[in-house]
Amino acid sequence: MKISRVLSASLVALPLALSFAASDVQAQTQLSRNEIVNSLQGAQNKAEINAADVRAQALQNIHQFPGDNATTSLPISAQLARLRQFNVEITFDFDSDRIRPESYETIGVIADALHTPYLWGQIFFVVGHTDAKGKREYNLKLSQRRADAIREALVTTFFVPPEQLEAIGLGEEQLRDPSNPDGAINRRVQLINVGF
């Protein structure tokens, strides 16, 4: 009884500790790899979603509903939200697609997850999002370049099969917290399992 209570306490504490500098790095890496695997696995069959369509919808959203910030979500967003997914934070240089060294490990953890047999043969969208600061079309292009950079790193440096990954930039068209459009919470990379 006592042991199980201690165990569950430490399981709760570990994810919180992820955002801080770590001493027990090995265990952390293991935990987050498995977190990603557990969140992404279980796709049954292919979702009928095409990466080019998602990109086109984001651009269309800007043209059809112009303005400083997006006011409508993409037609495809509800369907995407139902798929197995995981959010990560990757830091880039300002206004650039250059991944900063402190985020190399995060990409390595994603690679470790994608290399496990639990995720073999499945197709993943790597979706980049910005906050709402700046022009929407600019943010759309920047997030596409950033998603491309992550995909390139996964495919070349970490040997993930290229046919498993599609890079998509959604700019500020799909804010995580629309009530706080400029907030850091919106800047994230989504991994979405679109199935076999």
């Binding site: 697609d97 060294p101 490990e105 390595g108 953890v109 047999p117 043969g121 070349t156």
Partner: protein, 141 residues
């Protein structure tokens, strides 16, 4: 010595060997690349300001600046890329090393989509040590 004591020693030895056997002889992609950011992060930010991680560009930049980068980075960076390659190589030999185990334990499993490997993972206690080791080295467990 009593029979049960011998049994206990045998069990303990078995556990030790088993634990050692489960220790992968390769490191994962995240653990490898983490060494690059901790040993070379500052040098990368100083000398490779316009290089991105993909396509060997950081490796190339560090090699070009080898005279200027810190001793720690110089000592570590090439090893990082060796570790990444070693993990990839370990993955590429799993099916061969496990061939007999697959035929014995997973013959009814439809190949593809990781099904065979997942069968081997489930069958771990019956899988030969060499195959289990290969699975650990590949980072598949």
């Amino acid at each position: 010595m009593s029979k049960s004591l011998w049994a206990a020693i045998f069990l303990l030895a078995g556990t030790l060997i088993h634990t050692q056997g489960a220790q992968a002889q390769t490191i994962g992609f995240a653990d490898a690349i983490k060494i690059l950011s901790s040993s070379c992060g500052e040098d990368i930010q100083k000398y490779c300001k316009s290089a991105n991680i993909g396509n060997g560009r950081i490796q190339k930049c560090l090699a070009e600046n080898e005279a200027r980068i810190s001793p720690r980075c110089k000592a570590d960076y090439a090893g990082v890329y060796v570790s990444l390659q070693t993990r990839l190589a370990a993955q590429s030999v799993v099916m061969n090393i496990c061939d007999r185990d697959i035929r014995q334990l997973c013959s009814g499993v439809q190949p593809g989509k990781g099904h065979v490997l997942r069968c081997l993972l489930k069958a771990e206690p019956s899988v030969r040590a060499a195959c289990n080791q290969a699975i650990d080295d590949a980072g598949y467990r």
